[in-house]
Every structure is written in C-alpha cells, then in structure tokens.
Subunit: 180 residues, 2 copies
DNA sequence: TCTATATATTTGCGATACAAAATGTTTGTA
DNA sequence: TACAAACATTTTGTATCGCAAATATATAGA
C-alpha cells in the first residue's frame, strides 16, 4: 500500500531533478557558447527575434522579449554600435522606430551554434521513434501541468536578474564583516 | 516512406517548442514570484544553498553556485544588510569566512513559494501513475541526450547575464539613431 | 625567517533591468 | 486652428549581477 506511494514520490523527485539538470545544462551552454560572437544572452535573444521577422517596432520587440522598452533600447544601442542591427524611423508615423538586422547581423545569428539546441536536435533525431514519442508525450504533460499550452514557444531562453526594490531601500550597508 | 520522416520532424519540433514553453513559464514565475520577499533570483538561490547546509565557506558557496567568489561577496553583502545571513570569520583558520542564514533568513526561505515548483509538484501528484512514468522516462531521455546524467541537480534556476568582453571594447557609441 | 599559497574582499568595468521623466509625434476635440 | 491627451521612444537614475585583477590577511613550507 505504502509502496506505491513511495514509488510515486520518488518518481516525482526524479522528474524535478531531471528538469533541473536540463535547466542547468541549457543555461550552462548558453553561458559559454552563445557568446561565441561576443554576444550576451539578451543580445542574441533580440537578434533571434529580429531574425524571425524584421523589421519590428521597438515596442513590439520589447513585448516579444517580455522586457521593458527602456531595457531594449540599451540592447539595441549595443547591437547597433556593432553594426548588427539598424534602427529606422518610420516615415508614416515618426514616433515609431523599426529595427532590422543588418546583413552582418543576419549572418552572425545564422551561424551561432546554439549548442544546447543542436545537441537536442541531433540527440532527438537519433532516438528510436518510440522513445521520441515518450519524450514528446512527457513534455506535453508537463506543459499542461504548467498551464503553458497556449504560450508562444519562446526562444531558448530568457534572462533576468533584477528586483523591483519593494522596500524603501535598506540603505545598503557596505562592507560589514571585516572583524577587527 | 517520407511520411515517417515527417512525423518525426514534427515530433522533434514539438519537443523543442514544449521545452521552450517550460522554460518560459518557469522563468516567468521566478521573475514575478520569487521576489515576494523582495529577493532577487541569485539572492534566493544563495539562501537556498545556505538552507541546505550552513555554515558554508564563501568559496564553497561560490562553487556550489557556479559563480565567481567576488560575485558572491556582493550577494552576501546584500543578504547580510537585510539581516538574512551572517558572516563569521573562522577562529581556526582566520582566512576563511563562514556564512549562515539568520533565523529570519531561514524563515523567509522556508515560506518562499517557488510557484513553478509548487505547480509542478501538485500537478505531478495528480497525474495518473502511468503518465507520471511517461514524464519521468521522457525527461530522463532528455537528460541523457544532454549528457547531464551526472550533474548535481541544481536548484531551479541560475541566472547570468554577462559577457567577458572579448574585444578590446568597441568604444561604445552612445545614441546613434535620432535622425535629423 | 622568507617565500609561496590560500581565502576573502575591494576595485573597476560592462551589461541587464526597471521606473520615472523627458522628447517628439499624432490624434482628438473645442 | 489651437490645445490637450495619448503614444512611441529615449534619457536619466538606481540597483543588481558577473567577472577579472589587484589587495589584504593568514597559513604553510623551505
């Protein structure tokens, strides 16, 4: 009786562990590999979005990246200064600015390895059909659990770091330890 | 003949899409929810590691977080200034500093929701045993593909953003568009 | 003792990330 | 037309994060 319960608990634990492993690997690769071209994660991410369909308005880009427009502006500054993207002010509505990849940018993004994705792709290709199906079904169930069925599949990954500083700021004591 | 090939391609695409969805959801929750206590991702992450087994030496903490020691110092500064962690210099070897959670810190970390994880947990619990097994097997296969079998399952998530600046710095052109 | 190594911190720099304010544009309305 | 409101983007200011290199202190070894 209790046995079945234990087995399930163990299985659940394994699922979570494996999920963490997947996260870790993918993140690790994104860390080391995506910067082949000297691009940071968000920069490459923006370029991938642009590669999907430029030109894009700045606000649209921000929305697709789930980032604040002002954040995107900074990223675009860096991409533009490297000649990977260009901004053009619309002539119809001079408020909007559309962004596109340059030829160089398009080239760079196309040959960026995406190690994790590549690994997955070839790995999945080599998988026996039945196991592939298992993977597919399993992940689909996970997506269902997370209620993410309707989400547009975002590019492999997002990044974020910041906090909104809910408190009025604790005044940032600098350097505390340092006994004696 | 070609049919089978197509089906496989589609299945592979679905797997990648679903994986992206999982990433997105988990990340989204981590973004919005983990900051319940006003903690950033890395801060909460450090606290989780500390909760697993303090006291920990600073260098060990850095290693477990896959971060540079100097980065951890900053995070600890902020945690300490909020009274969530404490640093103590060892008496045996006065070079080392050990870190622990304060009572308040322990409390906070224990009641931090971990929305995504909670969702997964309850969702998986409600899953029929057979489907749970499918999820488990599928993820296990993925882990195998990624060669992550031997990784210690890291806490649900890591964060990182930065690049090492491979070039001697492109001199940062500020503000370029702005035609006219 | 003198030197090398180890541990943590400081310093310097770049990049995210957000909010609020500023700038320039367009649209609606009196 | 004149003016106000709404919009899109950028600027400004602040807070992290993240790393490398330099520092300070402590330990270990020759």
């Amino acid at each position: 009786m209790a046995k079945k319960r234990d087995e399930r608990s163990i299985a659940i634990g394994r699922v979570l562990d494996d999920l963490r492993r997947v996260f870790q690997v993918v993140h690790g690769y994104s860390k080391r590999a995506e910067r082949v071209g000297g691009l940071t994660g968000p920069q490459l991410w923006a370029m991938k979005v642009l590669a999907e369909g430029s030109p894009v308005r700045v606000s649209d880009l921000a929305q697709r990246m789930y980032l604040h427009p002002s954040t995107v502006v900074g990223i675009l500054d860096r991409l533009e200064s490297r000649g990977l993207a260009t901004r053009t002010r619309s002539t119809e509505d001079r408020r909007v600015v559309t962004v596109s990849l340059t030829e160089e940018g398009r080239l760079l993004v196309s040959k960026t390895p995406q190690v994790a994705q590549g690994l997955l792709l070839t790995g999945l290709k080599d998988l026996p059909t039945e196991e592939l199906h298992t993977v597919r079904t399993g992940l689909s169930l996970l997506v269902g659990i997370l209620g993410a069925r309707d989400l547009p599949p975002r590019l492999l990954f997002s990044y974020e770091v910041n906090a909104p500083a809910p408190e009025p700021r604790p005044h940032a004591i600098r350097r505390t330890a340092k006994d004696r």
